[in-house]
């Protein structure tokens, strides 16, 4: 064998190791898929259209890093230069080596160390009109491309603020070793190629040849030995990188490819920790984009951000507090370039923690008692109406703490002449979401079944709720055959169909997106449109899918009141930037949370609409409710 040198061994062994390790992981993940998903996988792999779209996304996401570009072009470029640059180096390197070896089968190390074996004296370094010249030009450009990303990466590690990142991920040892090797690969390659080119006086491209010539000129000794040593180092760092890859964050490179395929085949995370969750966890590149958006920073919590939580899950060790220390607001999920469903992962881990805990909801009056004893939850329900009522209104537990919202909703529905029944007029049964968010799905299921029966009993065609938390769980878990609307959507419908006329007022209103309505249910426009009809909507810097959590989240368990207040204060700062007269929200929990700290009044959109009803409609509502509203008005503005 001519084209062999002992130094290729570290690389070669590392390569064999990493291929086996990745293959084994992939095999295990696919093998461990739940049966239904396995069917989806085999069907998907045979469907050329799905495979093609998956490959397209692999190209766009894993190589070009499109999502990263959208968020932060500098970071996007950095990641792209590494991924795409290295990928193309491998591709063109292979083609180039085929050109020289003249066969289709090469030793796998041959393209990597090509410049050590080949010193084509026929090609000059700036030549671009011959085939080997083009390759040389390409390879040097690509190396330069990767090196430019490397420079950015080094700067980012030192001065992450320049990249718009306040914090970057704190590393584990394996990550550190891998990172060091990865960073060394490209400069070492540059110098190894340059020294070789300098020694032979040929074989380099537009970058390596002049650099080599320069080095040969200033170095007092022969470059032969240095070049050889550098080829060894190059092979070693590659080898070490490959061997540490399965244990470091760089495992995300092969795993994300599989994840994209899974997604294109319609394989979704389960409510338990399935193989797809494990793939998601290993796809985390620990880029740290999720750290800055996490509002727990405002409360001084720095150990539980998504990246650390996911790392804990991957290392099979998540301290209980960490899994419970999350607002489950979904902000990190929005920015995650890999698209890991962090919230559902949190809930999976919480479920594991609380499994086996007993519950007892036998105190809830059964469906039979409701029918025969005329239970107070169904006042206003008239059995002689065959069709039942038009709307069943579920205010939600939290709305019971903001009675003005309920009053406003009743006023609006009366003004619009809609027959409705309030399901939780007197007794509110929780919708089940708070239990689910604690991982208590089994317990929540009982409540869900109970509420479902109550809702069916009303025979209403539309379910309206004032609470986004309820709205989300009604949509996702209840499987109701009727229309489910949040009150902002419902009121907007009323306004659009001309059922309630509105008189605007001159107020500047900033709208706060509740987590479960915005990111949780993707309702962004209805509340804004509604506010736009009655007042001036002030733009907020962080809004829609990047909106902040009010701090009152039911998702976090390990936060003190002080920490919650700190988060609320930051969220308020964001809302008050445009100097609004009123903060509008669409969630009783957000309203209640903001009210304690806000210098301006905090109103639910329903309340605003109720105030905007013109006089006749306004006065047709019972006097008592009207007084209560104006009273609530005074107390909040005072």
């Amino acid at each position: 064998m001519i084209n062999f040198n002992l130094f290729v061994l570290p690389f070669f062994l590392g390569l064999i190791y990493v291929v086996i390790a990745i293959g084994k992981s992939w095999y295990n993940w696919i093998k461990a898929l739940p049966p239904v998903d396995k069917v989806r996988f085999t069907a998907g792999i045979r469907n050329p259209r799905q495979v093609f779209s998956a490959i397209k996304e692999v190209f766009l996401e894993a190589l070009i890093h499109r999502r990263m570009w959208r968020q932060n072009p500098l970071l996007g470029y950095m990641h792209m230069s590494f991924a795409l640059g290295w990928f193309l180096l491998i591709v063109f390197g292979n083609i180039e080596s085929r050109y020289y070896s003249g066969t289709h089968l090469n030793a796998p190390y041959y393209p990597i160390f090509l410049k050590f074996f080949i010193h084509d004296k026929l090609v000059i370094f700036f030549e671009v009109y011959s085939v080997p010249g083009i390759f040389r030009f390409l390879m040097d450009s690509l190396l330069l491309f990767v090196l430019s990303g490397l420079v950015l990466a080094v700067i980012k590690r030192q001065k992450s603020k320049w990249f718009g990142m306040k914090r970057t991920t704190e590393f584990q040892l394996t990550d550190f070793i891998s990172l060091t090797c990865l960073w060394l690969i490209f400069p070492v390659r540059l110098f190894a190629e340059s020294f070789t080119a300098g020694y032979y006086g040929s074989g380099g491209g537009f970058m390596t040849q002049p650099l080599g010539n320069f080095l040969a000129w200033i170095m007092p000794f022969s470059l032969d030995f240095v070049a050889y040593a550098l080829w060894w180092v190059y092979s070693l760092v590659l080898g070490i990188f490959f061997i540490t890859l399965p244990y470091s964050r760089y495992m995300h490179i092969p795993t994300e490819v599989l994840l994209i395929f899974f997604r294109h085949f319609g394989i979704q995370p389960r409510i338990w920790y399935s193989s797809i969750s494990d793939v998601e966890v290993h796809s985390c590149s620990r880029c740290g984009v999720c750290i800055d958006v996490c509002q727990m920073n405002d409360a001084g919590i720095r150990d539980s951000q998504a990246v650390y939580f996911i790392r804990g899950v991957r290392d099979k060790y998540v301290p209980e507090e960490i899994s419970r220390k999350c607002l489950v607001c979904g902000r990190c999920q929005e920015v995650c370039p890999v698209g890991i469903r962090i919230d559902s992962l949190h809930l999976i881990k919480r479920r594991e923690l609380v499994s086996g805990q007993a519950h007892d909801f036998s105190f809830l009056p059964g469906i039979k008692e409701i029918l025969h004893q005329g239970h107070p939850t169904l006042t206003g329900y008239h059995p002689n109406q065959d069709d039942g009522v038009e709307v069943v209104y579920f205010a939600g537990c939290m709305s019971h703490l903001t009675p003005s919202v309920i009053r406003a909703m009743k006023g609006i529905m009366s003004a619009a002449g809609i027959s409705f029944v309030q399901l939780d007029e007197d007794h509110s049964v929780c919708c089940g979401r708070p239990l689910m968010i604690a991982g208590k799905d089994r317990q929540a299921h009982d409540l869900i079944e109970y509420n479902k029966k109550l809702i069916r009993l009303t025979r209403a065609r539309t379910l309206v709720t004032s609470c986004p938390i309820c709205y989300r769980v009604f949509r996702e878990e209840y499987n109701l055959p009727i229309r489910i609307m949040h009150h902002t959507q419902f009121i907007l419908d009323l306004v659009k169909t001309g059922k309630i006329p509105l008189q605007g007022f001159f107020k500047r209103v900033a709208y706060h997106d509740p987590c479960d309505l915005g990111r949780g249910s993707r309702v962004y426009d209805a509340p804004r449109e509604l506010i736009g009809k009655i007042a001036d909507l002030v733009p907020v810097r962080q809004e829609t899918n990047n909106a902040m959590c009010c701090g009152g989240s039911l998702g976090i368990f390990e936060a003190s009141q002080k920490q919650r207040n700190d988060m609320t204060a930051r969220a308020l700062d964001n809302l008050l930037e445009g100097q609004p007269d009123t903060i509008a929200t669409a969630c009783p929990l957000c309203k209640k949370t903001f009210e304690t700290q806000s210098p301006v009044e905090v109103k639910d959109i329903a309340e605003l609409v109720y105030l905007a009803l013109p006089k006749p409609a306004y006065s047709s509502v019972s006097v008592q409710s009207r007084q209560a509203i104006s009273y609530a008005d005074e107390s909040t503005s005072a």
Binding site: E320, R324, V354, G356, Q357, A358, H359, D360, F361, F363, L364, P365, C397, M398, H400, L401, D426, H427, S428, V429, C430, P434, L435, A438, K440, Q443, L447, G552, L554, F557, E558, A559, S560, Q561, K562, R564, L589, K592, T593
Partner: protein
């Protein structure tokens, strides 16, 4: 003997504070110290969703914890619907949902 004449002997319900089981209380105080802030105002109880249906009383639960009546705690705590209203109305900022979760865990671990 007394039973023959229509009398019964009542179960001894006295609580010996020197001998009762304080483990759950200690666990709770260690893991959710905000319970110490409680002034026993009863707002949590007044707003409780479960409390509307049945005699479930967080303030009473707190007393049971301090007395170490594990069996009662176990029975009571199952009724919580976890809606979180109690926490919102608490004037002292006691992290009540976590109190319930911590109690669940304490019962699981300490029996």
């Amino acid at each position: 003997m007394t039973k023959k004449f229509g009398y019964s002997i009542l179960r001894d319900e006295s609580i010996d504070f020197d001998r009762n089981d304080k483990r759950i209380s200690a666990y709770l105080h260690a893991h959710e110290p905000s319970i110490n802030l409680c002034i026993g105002c009863g707002s949590c109880t007044a707003t409780c969703s479960t409390g509307h249906f049945v005699d479930f009383n967080i303030r009473r639960l707190h007393t049971l914890i301090r007395r170490g009546e594990t069996r009662e705690i176990k029975k009571e705590i199952r009724k919580c619907m976890f809606c979180g209203k109690c926490q919102l109305v608490c004037p002292r900022g006691v992290n009540l949902r976590n109190v319930i979760l911590t109690l669940n865990r304490a019962i699981e671990q300490l029996g």
